[in-house]
């Protein structure tokens, strides 16, 4: 029996790691009763795995509207985005996009 104050320190999450904080690993679907050391790292999902990369994506090609389409709004972007903006995110950035506090966002598909 795990004492009450104990909180699981392992990382869990779909795309972004967050502390598990369950009071016990017993019955935990993420670490499979404590047998998986890093549930977040072991997680795979539809179409992706830990070995996926996005090498085929050229950051210089991202952004910008089709200027030949005269009806398209001219959202050319600026310092922080739009055409020519930095596009260096990949799945690996899930590590840095994870939250640091304990509130669970991105866990409830019925939220609004």
């Amino acid at each position: 029996m795990i004492p009450g104050p104990w909180k699981c320190p392992k990382r869990v999450g779909f795309l972004f790691p967050r502390p598990c904080e369950r009071p016990t690993p017993i019955g935990c679907p993420d670490c499979n009763n404590g047998t998986i050391d890093d549930p977040y790292r072991r997680r795979t999902r539809s179409g992706y795995s830990d070995n996926d990369d996005f090498d085929g994506y050229d950051s210089s090609e991202i952004g910008g509207w089709d200027d030949s389409d005269s009806t398209a709004p001219a959202f050319a972007g600026g310092d922080s985005g739009g055409a020519g903006a930095s596009m260096d995110f990949s799945e690996a950035d899930g590590e840095s996009l994870g939250g640091s506090d304990s509130k669970d966002f991105e866990d409830d598909l019925s939220a609004s």
């Binding site: 972007g77 600026g78 922080s80 930095s86 950035d93 609004s112």
Partner: protein
């Protein structure tokens, strides 16, 4: 050109906003990805609208990743409701990506480390539909007026001065039912037994003297668009701030059903000029016995 609108999220708001955009985009082909329980209702009301229902993050991610659309429009959640778009968006390459930036809880923005940079980098344009959250100041953000799915049309039903609009979560229905009990003449629109089940509610809102409802995006913007006073119960939401929206809109904010009823009666009270007609007072003077 084909457009995919990602509109995951509970309730009516995301789906209705997506429907409003799809309607405005016609004849350009737009399809909606949603997980609202009301997809069937919207399909029935707008049969021309292509709505694909999904039930999991994995399914949503696969739909977006496998889409051949030229433009991806993402409603509210920059990296998806479940975070599932973070890995998918870079794969869209040079195709346009638009974020519909409704209000978003600052708590979520703080929690989602790096999300501002993610929005700046991953989206070609941030469209703020009459309101905005933390990303409304980005250089590629553009504010529009509030979005409504369509203008009101005449309906063949007796008019009621008070319309109760019960959107929101099932556990909030009791509050509206209590309001309805206290206001037996009110028209009650919502997904409840015996209530008027209709979408969009704007036809009923347009002809009301006053609406009692929540402060979700649709209710507030449909009241603003039709100039109908709103008495709002601001419900707690995970990502949305109904109180701030109600305050911005100038709604009367209430907590209890009794407060809502009092406020509605105040709005519906005849104007003072009618209740103290000077001609009536003059007639009394004229007809009074001479002293």
């Amino acid at each position: 050109m084909k457009i995919l609108i990602y509109a995951l999220g509970g309730g009516w708001g995301h789906l209705t906003r997506a429907a409003a955009l799809a309607r405005a985009l016609r004849p350009v082909e737009a399809s909606i990805l949603a997980n609202s329980p009301y997809c069937a209702v919207v399909r029935e009301a707008m049969p021309w609208l292509a709505i694909e229902s999904v039930s999991s993050r994995e399914e949503a991610a696969a739909c977006v990743a496998g889409s051949t659309a030229d433009v991806l429009v993402v409603d509210t959640f920059p990296r998806g409701l479940g975070g599932e778009l973070a890995a998918v968006l870079p794969e869209w390459g040079t195709r346009k990506r638009i974020l519909i930036h409704r209000d978003l809880s600052p708590e979520y923005v703080r929690w989602a480390t790096g999300i501002r940079e993610f929005v700046a980098a991953q989206y070609d344009c941030v469209l703020c539909p009459g309101e905005a959250g933390a990303f409304g100041d980005l250089p590629h953000a553009r504010m529009t007026a509030g979005w409504i799915v369509r203008g009101p049309v005449e309906i063949d039903a007796p008019a009621s001065p008070v319309v109760i609009c019960a959107g929101g979560n099932p556990d909030e229905l009791g509050w509206y039912e209590e309001v309805a009990r206290l206001l037996p003449d009110a028209a009650c629109v919502g997904d409840a037994p015996g209530w008027i089940r209709v979408w969009p509610a704007i036809d009923w809102i347009a002809r009301a003297r006053v609406v009692i409802g929540g402060a979700g995006y649709n209710t507030v913007n449909e009241c603003l668009a039709t100039g109908t006073p709103l008495i709002a119960r601001a419900w707690a939401r995970k990502y949305d701030r109904q109180r701030e929206r109600a305050e911005r809109a100038g709604a009367t904010i209430v907590e209890t059903p009794a407060e809502a009823v009092r406020a509605a009666r105040e709005v519906c009270k005849p104007p003072a000029a009618l209740s103290s007609n000077g001609a009536v007072e003059a007639a009394k003077w004229i007809l009074a016995p001479s002293s």
